[in-house]
Amino acid sequence: MIIKKKQRGINRREFLKKTATGAAGIAVIGMAPGFAWAGKKEPIRIGASLSLTGKYARTGEEQRRGYELWVEHINSVGYSLGKGDLPHKEPGLIDGRPVELIVLDDRSDPTTGVRLINELIYNKKVDLLLGPYSSSVSNAVAPVIEEAKIPTPIPMASSPKIWKGKRRKWMPQIQPPASLRLPGIVKMAKEKGNKTIAIIYSDAAFPRAAAEGVKARAKKYGLDIVLYEAYPKTLTDWIPIVSKAKDRKAEVLAGGGYLPDSIGIVKAAKSINYAPKIISLVVGVALPDFKDSLGNDVLDITGDADWEPGVEYPGAKEYTEAYTKKYGAVPEYHSAGAYGGAQILEVAVKRVGNLKNRKAIRDVMYTVDTLTIFNAYKVMPLDSPDSGLQTAAKRLLLQWHKVGGKLKKVVIYPPDAVTGKFIYPFRGWK
């Protein structure tokens, strides 16, 4: 027994010998990639924390695709769609260095987002950052970004509260602010002679801002706000709150939150047979899932989008083609916004031509006036209390129509972008 035990054991000298050989071996193998990198340039590491699981998983995934496509284009030709005029000699962002995208999943949770942004900055030591999904997460990570002083475009946060009076110096907004959500809907409702409106919204940063914007415009146009109420983010059944709007005889039903909200509100309205003259909801209406889930019930419903595949921004058309080729689906605004946001980073980094000078990169982001595939871009300057707030981007109002037997979104506002006639009033549930 004793002998056996001795044979199985290992003495100190042997241990040292073996570990030393092992370590040397690992070191030699470890050098191989070093040699490989000598030929290639060291990649520029760009980090992002996105909502890949949880409530915002669907839209968070779209955003990831936008970032990925941008990285792909930078790494293959050295510039993104519509940005061929920027200095580029070789593939890569600057000095021929390719981009490596590091995406972490914040599970749609702001506190996790904060943890991951810290992880990206201080542990993974990324060179640059791209913004997360949703106003809630963006708002939560804002202080971390400001403190780390890393220029970070924030593509998918439309709540103006993140910027208003906050003097954000390192994170320009890409999306049009939420106070301008559902553009034209109040004006059009008033023109059609409606008197009452119900505004219901998810109790989160961006829907609240959107609802406040609609409320302000409803007041301005003299509509009677018969219901103005928030519902919890985790709601799964909208019947009680939609019933309230019905009981109060609201002619216009507006608001919502994200995609689940839009589907839930429409289902609820149909199931209690509530047919207001106008139904207008944020975010979800623009997504193909809305139609896939509800079928013909989407007819006449209006909603907004920051972007549609048909818009006339430089590179937008090519973007739609590239996206469709890679992912086998038609892109919507979340991915386009992500791509557009990354383009702002591209513009700034290329103009400065040096990653070390973060302040200069930031300064370009805060002064440049340009177009991306996504939208127009210009933000409040650094000396303004609202610095970083988006001022140039526009939003469209859409409505679901049946064109040639197929369900299709048409733009009904603003007048210069219209692709179809506003169908009024809502023709009821079939």
């Binding site: 699981t53 928030a230 009680p240 019933s243 199931s271 896939d292 509800l294």
Partner: protein
């Protein structure tokens, strides 16, 4: 105070919604009653039932009402397999083992579902309209859900009351050691109960797919509600789960209508806390032995 139409409306809708929660809670309670396992993966069974219905409808054109039966059967067997090979191993072990195990199963199922079904939000647009019922305008899918719940729960009661296996389940639930001594194969009883619990969750999922929308992580919402309901009704008590779910549904709906939607998820828990203060074992709960 006279019952205003708004309150009456909310009450009826709440009871209907509660009955759908009941389908989920009854299964969870049955499993807890028989084997003292809180099945964290119960919500995932609801999700699987919902996706099953969705794909049967979208790809094969199967009527979602028929899918309720399909989901019931398929989930029964999924439950059977999961219990036989996994859950049975932690029976009689400390509570934490079963919690960890079912939590693991839950994570495994929804992540797999996310990989296969993608994160896209789906819904079955069937029975979306409404009818006037008991003087209230109510969704057809709710009426269907209510009908299914009444039918299945009645069947379960009859099964537990009169059938041999049902009696064995009740005996095991009351005292598994004595049941074993009396010659009941408690292992089979546990497997059957777990499979039945999963089957109920699956059929609830089929109803949910018509009523609300579905996505891979939806299970947790329903698990949280069902768990509150079975605590309210008394852990392990089937009638308790049923009454608890009606109270929960009505409280949720009434709060949303009378107070504010934001409060609708608070009030049921206030009621839960109040009942637990008055009767710590829940409405119908027996004292832990």
């Amino acid at each position: 105070m006279e019952l205003s139409p708004v309150i009456y409306n909310a009450l009826i809708v709440g009871i209907f919604i509660g009955s759908i929660y009941g389908l989920i809670a009854v299964g969870l309670s049955l499993v807890y009653g028989v084997m003292r396992v809180v099945n964290i993966a119960h919500g995932e069974f609801v999700m699987l039932g919902a996706f099953l219905t969705f794909f049967a409808w979208r790809l094969l054109g199967i009527n979602p009402i028929i899918s309720i039966v399909i989901a019931l059967v398929v989930l029964f067997f999924i439950g059977l397999i999961i219990h036989r090979f996994l859950v049975e191993r932690v029976i009689g072990k400390p509570m934490l083992s079963s919690l960890m195990l079912t939590f693991g199963i839950s994570i495994f199922i929804w992540n797999t579902a996310q990989a296969i079904f993608t994160t896209n939000i789906k819904a079955v647009s069937y029975l979306g309209g409404s009818v006037t019922f008991l003087g209230v305008n109510i969704a057809k899918s709710y009426i269907l859900g209510f009908g299914i719940a009444v039918l299945l729960v009645a069947a379960l009661f009859a099964f537990l009351k009169f059938s041999r296996w049902g009696k064995a389940i009740r005996a095991t639930s009351q005292n598994d050691e004595v049941a074993l001594v009396c010659g009941i194969d408690t292992k089979k009883v546990r497997t059957l109960s777990f499979a039945l619990g999963a089957a109920f969750a699956g059929s609830a999922g089929a109803v949910v797919s018509m009523t609300w929308f579905i996505f891979p992580q939806m299970g947790f919402n329903y698990l949280a509600k069902a768990f509150a309901i079975i605590v309210l009704g008394g852990l392990g008590s089937i009638p308790g789960a049923l009454i608890g779910s009606l109270i929960y549904g009505a409280a949720e709906s009434l709060t949303g209508q009378i107070l504010e939607a934001r409060m609708s998820q608070v009030v049921p828990f206030v009621i839960l806390a109040t009942i637990l203060v008055i009767k710590p074992s829940g409405l119908f709960g027996a004292r832990e032995r």
